[in-house]
Amino acid sequence: MIAVLNQYLDDIRDNLKLELADENDVIGELKSHIEDEFQEMRDAGLSEEEAANTCIKFLGSAKLVARQIYETHGQGTWRQALLASMPHLLFALLFTLNWWQGVGWLTVTLGLILAMAFYGWVHGRPEWLFPWRGYCFLPVLVAGALLLYLPRGWSWVAIIIYLPLVCGLVWSVTVRTVKRDWLYSALMMLPVPIIIGWFLVAGEEGEFSKISLEYVRYCAHGIGLSFGALAATTIAFIRLRQRWMRLVLLFLSGELTLVMVAFYSNGRLSLPVFLLLTLLMLGLLLSPALVKRRIRRGRQPVSP
């Protein structure tokens, strides 16, 4: 197939943002359509260039075709929605039923998260995988929090090594996720400001390193409720068709959940910190789009 047609199919592929198997089916079908049409036009006496341009004209804008197909396939099933919301529901249960204090339950939850993330990764990276993937950072976060308990000098050395490693890891996972669909990366990031908010609420004098277990116990129902809200958001996100509605949902729901954290904090979350968390959330939800843009720019040939 000639270059302009391959480029057209690549443009559609870039904008499809579907699971790999669906994406291959769609591109294969369009390729077969273009081959038939191209051949018919060549038989009718058109040059290769004319035939290719006419095929593209008849099919229409690559972005529009991709968007229409995305809206057909993009809406996940109820099963996918439930699977995607499961990690949030697990944490909601952990806190609502006060199981978070049992090492056994915590180990089972973390083990399940890692197992599901691995299963999804080797089975075509379906849409329900993304929230599970986000929780895979939890052991890394816990390891970081534990570093704060090292003797002061050692703690600083460990953090200096830890931070670049974590940034590299987060960057690498984000880039891989963004390649599939930046909106799913945003969904993956959504719990981050909320979890940080709870850490700040539970920390003595707003410090991570002085977590008051008593206060966590006091807020357990609120924490459970906020994870329940994340689960509901995830279900709605997977069931929505339009991308703009998904983005609006993430913003609104993230903000409402932050308000919930502030409500349960009994004034321990000050207004400036709340605003900083809101800014962090905005940054986390939009940064995948910027990363995606940067990746796309990096792939475009440089004109002389």
Partner: protein, 115 residues
């Protein structure tokens, strides 16, 4: 042309079902067949065909299967399902009733003959 499109809105999926109900077809064949059978009246916008076919497939009205051609190329043929057959029968009867009613109204009035 604009008026023609307006009339076609909402009819594209029954049309697709009808064609696929007659014989299994692939996308490009559907476009050609629709144009030929309607004597050029219906021209499906190619970019909108596949989203429409995939919507029918998601609704369980048709099913797509990849088939290998003797040339080694593959094509995705669409087959109507039992659910699609039932819906098609319903749509046919709805259309027939609609056309009968339209004909009753739209036909020019016959002049009354005074006797």
């Amino acid at each position: 042309m604009e008026q023609r499109l307006d009339l076609m809105k909402g009819s594209s999926e029954p049309l697709l079902l009808c064609l696929i109900g007659q014989q299994p077809m692939y996308g490009y064949q559907i476009i050609k067949d629709l144009e030929k059978k309607s004597q050029g009246y219906f021209k499906f916008k190619e970019g909108t065909l596949y989203p429409a076919l995939h919507r029918l497939e998601k609704a369980g009205l048709v099913t797509g299967k990849w088939e290998m051609l003797p040339s080694g190329r593959q094509r995705r043929y669409y087959y109507i399902t039992d659910k699609g057959d039932k819906l098609l029968a319903l749509k046919r009867s709805q259309w027939q009733n609609f056309l009968n009613a339209m004909n009753l109204i739209i036909q020019p009035a016959t002049p009354l003959v005074e006797g």
